[in-house]
Symmetry: C2
Subunit: 411 residues, 2 copies
């Protein structure tokens, strides 16, 4: 690790993002019989819908920075130690020796501290466009979540003058309840099982007519989250044009790959959709602890795993992949592979990001980096595909943690 000297760089931020907005995007017809159905129930998202989403949400979200870090490039481009391999099926084999240049898309610097703001603003803006401001403001929106989606929807709703009802389990951490309330949302408590939560949702809906905005299994949510890929691609191109030395090659070509965490799959499906008409390969990353790698296991058997029960430290990734998300992610033309990492690997990656990059991320955010650093199967794949190496975009999905939580993780 001779690269202690390298501090993170923020060079991309010197650039103005140039976008080609496809204004000719037409929404598919909406079922008129039941106006609370998802707006595009089974429509598979497409790249033009992500460009259109970006036009809508751009005034409301941050263009998050794209960072590079020489130290992490060096560490990832060094073969793993025999000791590290001794706990894997690769014991005794020569370690893979891939070369990486990382480009970190820092959604921990997004509003509310996570990419979820993109999807929530997009879903709500679409609702208003479809149903009219008056109706949405009168009925309000509702969701059940104890995580980042709750805060994201609360922020979007208060920004757009819409009441928000957030169903949270009574056992939610006080700081998350306070965070959601601070955006003016009405927090309503429920039991913690999904049956209990949904009962409260129905009860509130019966009283208010509030419209459900699901956290990930939704066309508009997926397209909203996909806008981070659109920004990432533009920032990468501009950055490499200005500083070709940051890239594996100096030809100004596209990113070789992008890797994102997979929880419900909204982020990964959105990113995969955006790149589906481009050369960049998209990968997913999951925690393996207690079967948290439901998506990877589903791809192995060809069937979506619809229930997961894991207490992985990557708490944003404890949910199974949604139905519509699965349809995107299971398409090998869109997602080239999903890889899993252990709790120790997640912690090691998180330590590097905090101590070397000086950037605060939550455990869920670093599973993609952990795959690049420690998943020998992925590292072999990169070495085989490209002996000269890969430029890889890594999405840091969020940064909502506390100093106590960091202390507990590393105690």
């Amino acid at each position: 690790m001779a690269a202690l000297a390298s501090a993170p760089r923020y060079p991309d931020l010197t650039l103005t993002l140039t976008l080609t907005i496809t204004s000719s995007y037409h929404r598919p017809p909406i079922p008129s019989s039941h106006h609370d159905l998802p707006l595009h129930p089974r429509t598979i998202p497409h790249p033009a819908a992500i460009h259109a989403a970006y036009t809508l949400i751009q005034p409301h979200v941050h263009q998050t920075p794209l960072l590079t870090c020489q130290t992490l490039n060096t560490i990832a481009s060094t073969p793993q130690s025999a000791e590290a391999l001794s706990v894997t099926p690769y014991e005794g084999q020569a370690p893979a020796n891939p070369t990486f240049r990382f480009f970190f898309k820092c959604e921990n610097y997004q509003r509310i501290g996570a990419f979820k703001a993109r999807g929530a603003f997009h879903a709500l803006l679409r609702l208003i466009a479809e149903k009219g401001k008056e109706e949405v403001a009168r009925r309000g929106v509702i969701t059940h979540s104890s995580g980042n989606h709750a805060q994201a929807l609360a922020l979007a709703a208060s920004t757009l003058g819409v009441p928000a009802y957030i169903i949270m389990p009574t056992i939610s951490t006080p700081s998350k309840i306070a965070g959601t309330k601070s955006h003016g949302a009405e927090v309503i408590f429920s039991g913690s099982t999904s049956v209990e939560r949904e009962a409260v949702v129905e009860e509130v809906q019966a009283k208010t007519g509030a419209i459900l905005v699901p956290p990930y299994d939704d066309f508009n949510i997926i397209c909203g989250q996909g806008t981070c890929a659109l920004e990432l691609e533009g920032q990468y191109r501009d950055l490499v044009k200005e500083k070709p030395q940051l890239s594996i090659r100096s030809e100004g070509k596209a990113l070789d790959a992008v890797i994102t965490p997979i929880g419900g799959g909204g982020l990964n499906a959105g990113v995969a959709t955006f790149f589906s008409d481009k050369t960049t390969k998209v990968f997913g990353a999951e925690p393996s602890f207690e079967g948290g790698d439901d998506c990877r296991r589903g791809l192995d058997t060809g069937e979506r795993v619809d229930a997961v029960s894991t207490l992985t430290i990557a708490d944003g990734l404890r949910t199974p992949v949604g139905l519509l998300n699965w349809e995107v992610i299971a398409d090998r033309e869109k997602v080239a592979g999903v890889f899993a990492v252990t709790e120790e690997q997640i912690k090691a990656a998180m330590r590097l990001v905090l101590e070397r990059m000086k950037v605060v991320v939550e455990p869920s955010a670093v599973v993609g980096l952990a795959v690049c650093l420690y998943n020998e199967e992925f590292r072999r794949l990169v070495e085989k595909e490209a002996p000269e190496g890969w430029d890889v975009g890594i999405v840091f999905s969020g940064g909502n943690t506390t100093v106590e939580a960091i202390g507990k993780l590393f105690s």
Copy 2:
């Protein structure tokens, strides 16, 4: 705290720094009788020397980002609670109600993770300019430090092809020893008292002829550290021009104030020197724990405190202010005041920076922010000086901490 929604912004990074380099700066004459004397033994630094320093070091250091954070502006611009005041001499009084707009100069993103890289590169480049590359490369440089200066000098020396001898107490933490060695420096162990360290320095100097590069009490070190003020001022002007809403006023005027930590005083003296011919007021911040506020106490009595023994968590600020540094800081035309904060206040500020800004800083880095947030004397001064509020530049001096250290601080 209704500002949870605000994520940090990186807008300044869209700007290109425009510098007016004063090339007519002439160095004062060097005493030729003893070529190991400090190059400018008693010369008080001046702004032109900082411009000249920047020209020299620019190829070797990062232009660190200038960040803003609405959440912290809002918190600082809210009066303190009666509970907070109850542990201060202000109990029972109406709390001060100043208004702040902060501009964070993030030297935690500097090479080796701290501003010290600026001074070390400058001192070494000046040595080479004065004595010639051949002599400096033959003799090498030496310092005694267990902190950021050791790594900074090791990096500068390896970059410029000069041997570096770093005297470190045997009890130094292994990661700091490893960090220093990773830059190719020769680490030599000593006892931990200053007498023991200096004996080893003399011994190594006798053998090698190595030239001492002191950590702060030195003209060239002060001028090097001052370059962060030069960057800060340019970045602030460009940023406010582009986004006037980030400033208290929209007239495009100068920063009202800048505040930095004071340990040995190299950073504060350099920043104060840079602003000494401008309208911006410069302040210093120290930990009060176990008399760590030696500079503030010295200013009270008019006499420099030359020995301090504190185990403040702000471990970079445990040293007394140096002689030449004192001459700058004690000049009321240059430094408008020095304020102290408690360990709890430092921790509270550090928590806000980690959890809200998602930026990793070390405790020493946040004493300036802690003064703005919690020092009632300073807050009254700001309220009185400017009812409309102040634009304040805050230097985050470094980010060299570990997840274990963070955990221990907040356990």
